[in-house]
């Protein structure tokens, strides 16, 4: 994977970025600007918004985010393991078995303690 192989990604970025940029900048530059109170309000599908949109989130969202990170890292460990399993053979299997086993207990515990339920 020498740096030349990254040329396509570079080209992709060079095309996508300006396209998005133009789409955002052009209307704000060319379009008429006479804001009034009604237009400034958040769109509540026609309803009149009675409170600020940014209310406090219930804690479940935070739980989901934390658990997502933990299991995300767990998955990340699987990538190199999968790639080099042919050399690791049974030893690698036991090793990853222990790793996943411990996290499985954690997962069962989290599940039993109702962190996933949405009341």
């Amino acid at each position: 994977m020498t740096s030349a192989d990254y040329l396509p990604i570079l080209i992709l970025i060079l095309i996508a970025a300006p396209f998005a940029g133009i789409a955002i900048l052009l209307p704000s530059v060319l379009g008429p600007k006479n804001p009034n109170r009604m237009k400034q309000e958040a769109i509540e599908s026609g309803m009149i918004p009675f409170a600020d949109a940014r209310r406090r989130f219930p804690v479940q969202y935070y739980m989901v985010a934390v658990l997502f990170i933990i299991f995300d890292i767990e998955v990340i460990f699987l990538f190199p393991w999968a790639v080099s399993l042919n050399q690791l053979k049974i030893f690698g299997l036991i090793e990853m078995g222990v790793f996943l086993g411990i996290l499985l207990i954690g997962y069962l515990y989290v599940w039993k303690k109702g962190a996933f339920e949405w009341e």
């Binding site: 030893f91 411990i102 207990i105 515990y109």
Partner: protein
């Protein structure tokens, strides 16, 4: 591609502790929700059994000859003694939490699981001789303790304490990692043995060691980095404080000693002077601040900081005898400090929403109500002040002897004078107990919980006899 064969007997005690932690979690899952009578104390019993088994394994498992597990974890005499002091502190702390926990929390199995994970973290930290393992085990122990500090959800101070401890702990881990990176940059190896072999001098090694000292300094609550300690110690539930104040110091000190030995190329005079200055600062700040505390627990927190200063004197000496003295002091410190916190926990009024800390005068007139409790507390206080023939005196004697031997006489003088300063606020508690009438704020959790009384009895016995009897076993441990 030779797959390594791992000799798991080297880390048997740690595995036992880990498996017990997992068992506590599984037991909580499988046990039917319908709470049978034994349901509450099951996790505690399981945890205690695990600790005792691990302790026995450490004691009886023959001679720990320094074999390493892939050059990552070593099982030498130093690690063995660390295991013992951590398991001792953990068992005593657990006895305290047995009766302390039901007052404010229903999440018992989580508490004991995290408690055991913290213990496992300390045991691994004591054995790790490789930078990454050292960092990961330090993180295990830290995260577990952050959560345990904030375990009393009802009490606001607990939350504040946990946040402070977390922020500064994470900050210090950053320093530690940066130090480890610089070590790797200077020597190209992460195993401490290879780093020592490289003997590479230069700026990177020095900067790496400095950052490492800062990182571990935070964990040890050494002077300039001790800001979190009083709040964290006061906010945390008392059994956690008792265990934390001994366990973290022991493990962090062993890690510090191993790293300092590995960074052989940095001239001893350099880091020793830095540590000596830190030690002096810690002792003096800890003692002076403790003088004017109104809460007994906060006073013990500052005294615990001061004792970190005394412990550093042994590391500053830099000799093997120096660190033997540190290990000896750690055991003596475990007995007297956990004993003092045990009685502080008995004097508290733990409630669901607010734990009313035991004030300095909470112990007034204790001799009238429970003479033996007062005698035990007097022993802990006098031993912490370093009065013979208690364990604290012998601990300080060996520490200062090591310091004088390696040319740090002025540090020994500072240590001795600090002991005199500390005698004042320790005596203030003794005065209250024996010579004053019970004050309005005096409160004693009656009937005295059996487990806490057992903990007090064990620590009192240890404080009295450890100093006199245990010296021969503490020769030539750390090479």
């Amino acid at each position: 591609m030779s797959l390594p064969t791992l000799d798991f007997s080297l880390i048997l005690p740690e595995l036992v502790v880990l498996i017990t932690a997992l068992l506590v979690l599984i037991a909580d899952l499988l046990w039917p929700r319908a709470a049978s009578r034994g349901r509450e104390q099951a996790p505690a019993v399981l945890a205690l059994a695990g600790l005792i088994l691990a302790g026995l394994l450490t004691l009886l498992a023959g001679e720990w000859s320094g074999a390493t597990l892939q050059g990552m974890l070593v099982a030498d005499a130093l690690a063995r003694y660390l295991n013992l002091v951590v398991l001792l502190a953990a068992a005593l702390g657990l006895l305290l939490s047995w009766s302390y926990l039901p007052h404010f929390s229903t999440q018992r199995s989580e508490y004991y699981a995290l408690y055991l994970l913290a213990v496992a973290g300390m045991l691994f930290l004591g054995k790790s001789i490789e930078l990454i393992t050292l960092f990961v085990s330090l993180e295990i122990l830290s995260i577990a303790l952050y959560v345990l500090t904030g375990f009393h959800r009802g009490q606001l101070a607990g939350g504040e304490a946990a946040l402070k401890y977390f922020l500064l702990g994470a900050f210090s881990s950053g320093f530690l990692l940066y130090g480890a990176a610089l070590f790797y940059a200077a020597t190209g190896a992460t195993r401490l043995a290879d780093i020592a072999a490289q003997n590479a001098g230069g700026f990177y090694m020095l900067a790496g060691l400095a950052l490492f000292l800062v990182g571990l300094g935070f964990k040890l609550a050494v002077a300039p980095f001790h800001m979190w300690a009083p709040d964290a110690y006061q906010g945390a539930p008392t059994p956690v404080t008792a265990f934390m104040s001994v366990g973290t110091k022991a493990a962090a000190l062993v890690a510090l000693f191993r790293v300092v030995q590995a960074a052989g190329s940095v001239p001893v005079g350099v880091w020793a002077t830095a540590l000596a200055f830190l030690s002096l600062l810690t002792m003096t700040l800890g003692n002076l601040a403790a003088l004017r505390q109104s809460s007994l627990k906060r006073m013990l927190a500052y005294s615990s900081i001061a004792h970190a200063g005394y412990l550093l004197v042994g590391v500053v000496a830099g000799t093997a005898a120096g660190f033997d003295a540190v290990l000896f002091y750690l055991f003596a410190y475990a007995f007297m400090n956990i004993g003092a916190f045990a009685i502080a926990s008995l004097l508290e009024r733990p409630g669901f929403y607010a734990v009313q800390d035991a004030g300095i005068h909470a112990a007034d007139g204790l001799f009238g109500r429970r003479p033996w409790l007062a005698v035990a507390m007097a022993m802990f206080m006098l031993s912490l002040a370093g009065i013979p023939p208690l364990a604290g005196f012998f601990g300080k004697l060996y520490l200062f002897a090591a310091a004088v031997e390696s040319g740090w006489a002025w540090l020994a003088v500072a240590g001795v004078l600090n002991s005199v300063i500390s005698a004042y606020y320790y005596l203030r508690v003794v005065v209250g107990m024996f010579m004053a009438e019970p004050s309005a704020s005096a409160h004693l959790r009656l009937p005295l919980p059996a487990s806490a009384t057992l903990a007090v009895a064990l620590t009192a016995l240890g404080t009295l006899l450890f100093g006199l009897l245990a010296t021969p076993w503490f020769q030539g441990i750390s090479r």
